[in-house]
């Protein structure tokens, strides 16, 4: 491509760049500004934030919950994506369609639906009691477990789609080549397919992780009293018009999220290296 052509084609990026700068970068910088200027330069919001255990405790809970949700999504989505990739083209579209259906429903409605399923007098308990497995209803709703179930169900389609599109990029001939060169079927998957698809899986997991970090409706509806997320604290402060403090919490959440993403990336790189070079199966 000539330099001239190159320059012309970067034009295509401009709308996206403009959107990013106008609606993401500038507001983010504004939040950063609001956290330290109120109206003069001050560190009082961060001092307040770090002088109490609550905020870091909730940040840790938010990170832990998001990591677990991302991990569960990755593990469940991987075989599903692999299954879909192996189907003929027409069937792939059908299966992807099935995956997409839940995405059309609002998160709020799906959360309420889980309340109906998991509740004391809900579907599962009615079946368990009806079949005589238990006399008293099992407590499922308003537990951290319920938060995992609901969030995984809500975020799984995103993971499957990301993972699937990464898998379609993989040339299946490479697996055949590995087999010809003497790899056992399991070895071919582990040392060829898995490392090649890991990048897509990790990308999906990072997206799920980042989305989870900002969740607050679902944990508030189906979780227990300890399932408080950073977003809940931010919402409270915004409603109290404490913009500066809300901004400080947001910045801490943002930094926490970015650090976690970097760590996840690093770990996946190490893992890929291990898998490719890895010892004998």
């Amino acid at each position: 491509m000539s330099t001239k052509k190159k320059i012309r084609s970067t034009w295509l990026l401009w709308p996206a760049l403009f959107m990013l700068v106008a609606f993401f970068l500038i507001p983010t910088l504004d939040i950063l500004r609001a956290s330290v200027y109120d109206p003069e330069f001050t560190t009082k919001h961060f001092t307040k934030l770090f002088s109490s255990n609550v905020y870091l405790d909730v940040l840790w809970r938010t990170i832990r919950l998001s990591c677990i949700v991302a991990l569960i999504c990755a593990v469940i989505a991987y075989p599903i994506s692999y299954f879909i990739v192996q189907r003929p083209r027409k069937q792939q579209i059908f299966f992807l369609f099935l995956v997409f259906i839940p995405l059309w429903m609002s998160v709020l409605i799906r959360s309420y639906a889980w309340m109906v399923v998991l509740g004391r007098e809900g579907l599962i308990n009615a079946i368990l009691i009806g079949l005589g497995f238990t006399d008293a209803p099992v407590k499922m709703l308003f537990t951290t477990g319920a938060v995992y179930v609901a969030m995984v169900q809500i975020l799984l389609p995103i993971q499957i789609v990301t993972c699937y599109s990464a898998m379609t990029e993989i040339d299946l001939d490479l697996m055949r080549a590995a087999r010809i060169l003497g790899a056992k079927p399991w070895q071919a998957i582990r040392r060829v397919f898995l490392p090649l698809s890991l990048d897509g899986t990790v990308t999906g997991a990072i997206i799920v992780f980042m989305l989870s970090m900002g969740f607050f409706i679902t944990p508030a509806l189906v979780g227990g009293r300890k399932d408080i997320m950073m977003a809940n604290l931010i919402e409270f402060q915004v409603n109290q018009l404490n913009w500066g403090f809300a901004a400080a919490i947001s910045i801490v959440l943002l930094i926490g999220t970015v650090l976690c993403v970097i760590i996840i990336k690093r770990l996946s790189k190490i893992l890929t290296g291990r898998l490719v070079g890895g010892g004998n199966a």
Partner: protein, 356 residues
């Protein structure tokens, strides 16, 4: 690069022009924009208040339903000098917030209530109380032990005699008051006790007792109704108006007025509105028209203080109102001032307490 910037600036200016002219298009002398509750409240208000108000004064009401985040929106409007609302509903806890930040116009009482007929405690400098609502204990009567009746917060705390799942609202307001009442503090001393460090400790200590028995901590009124109607919990405080939803869907439920927290909702006028006179007109209409208010409470039990409201009201309906003398007598008046002063600090302790 400068070329890019020029391009960006052009787009930005074009956007501003479009947005600006859209605002101008809304400007019409005989119309005010009112930010009120949506849902069933909005529907009933349209029928009972907006329509008749337009008939009486010729001022049309453009209703925008603001479910939540009303205060952040208001502050953004006032700060940017682009006030889109001419009048608005403000909850008891949000009222002092807006006063502190200077977001409201002062109320012109020579216009709203020239003869001084509204009760003094409903006439605030920057807002007029237009409705009362209570957070009261709602009991599923079919889930009570035989022959027993739940009558107080002490009973709510008594898990031996009244077994069954319970819920509380996930915020400190009202709950600390309920805890002190359950602990035997007289209603008129609640805020005196809460203002001391020992009193606060006492409230949290009492809440410690009930904590393991609370199934969930609700965040919206709709959720509390859902919990009671699904049988998820048997005893749960909620807004008095929510009982209507439960009873009309055939669920045996009852309000315990004793120990309820009575709140006031205000009408306020955002600072910088261009329709100050028309907006004040509506505030007057909404707070002083007894016949309209009587009609309104047949749909929703959130009465105001219009003089003569209870005259000729069906006694059975009157008994369901939070301001009905017998009900008001056993409730306490929630202190918006106390919470405006202390919410930030207490909420932090509350969150910490929830996480323990």
């Amino acid at each position: 690069m400068t070329k890019i910037l020029r391009q960006v600036a052009k787009v930005a200016v074009a956007t501003l022009v479009v947005v600006g002219s859209a605002n101008l298009a809304l400007a019409d002398d005989k119309e005010i924009t009112f930010s009120g509750s949506g849902g069933v409240v909005g529907k009933v208000s349209k029928e009972v208040w907006f329509g008749p108000f337009e008939k009486a004064t010729g001022i049309k009401i453009n209703h925008v339903a603001a479910e939540a985040k009303r205060m952040p929106q208001l502050e953004a409007m006032v700060k940017s000098g682009n006030v889109l609302w001419d009048a608005m509903e403000v909850s008891a806890s949000d009222y002092p917030l807006g006063v502190k930040k200077g977001l409201y116009e002062a109320v012109d009482y020579s216009m709203v209530d020239p003869d001084n007929k509204l009760p003094a405690d409903t006439r605030e400098e920057f807002g007029v109380a237009y409705a009362a609502y209570s957070q009261v204990l709602i009991v599923r009567t079919d889930k009570l032990p035989d022959g027993k009746k739940m009558e107080s917060w002490a009973d709510f705390w008594d898990v031996e005699n009244f077994p069954g799942p319970r819920a509380l609202r996930g915020r400190a307001e009202d709950n600390l008051e309920f805890a002190l009442l359950a602990d035997g503090v007289p209603a008129d001393e609640i805020y005196k006790v809460l203002s001391t460090e020992d009193g606060l400790d006492r409230a949290f200590a009492k809440l410690d007792e009930i904590k393991p028995h609370i199934t969930t901590w609700w965040t919206s009124g709709a959720q509390s109704v859902q919990l009671l109607s699904d049988g998820e919990v048997y005893f749960c405080p909620s807004y008095n108006g929510r009982i209507t939803t439960l009873v009309s869907s055939g669920i045996p439920a009852e309000i315990v007025w004793n120990g309820g927290a009575m709140h006031k909702s205000y009408l306020a006028i955002p600072k910088g509105t261009k329709k100050l006179k028309e907006a004040t007109e509506y505030v007057k209409y909404r707070t002083t028209s007894a016949d309209r208010m009587r009609e309104y409470v047949t749909h929703l039990p959130y009465p105001g203080w219009a003089p003569g409201l209870f005259d000729g009201m069906d006694p059975k309906m009157a008994a369901g109102m939070p301001t009905y003398p017998q009900n008001q007598a056993v409730q306490f008046s929630a202190s918006a001032e106390f919470w405006a002063e202390n919410l930030d600090a207490i909420q932090e302790r509350w969150t910490e307490w929830l996480l323990q």
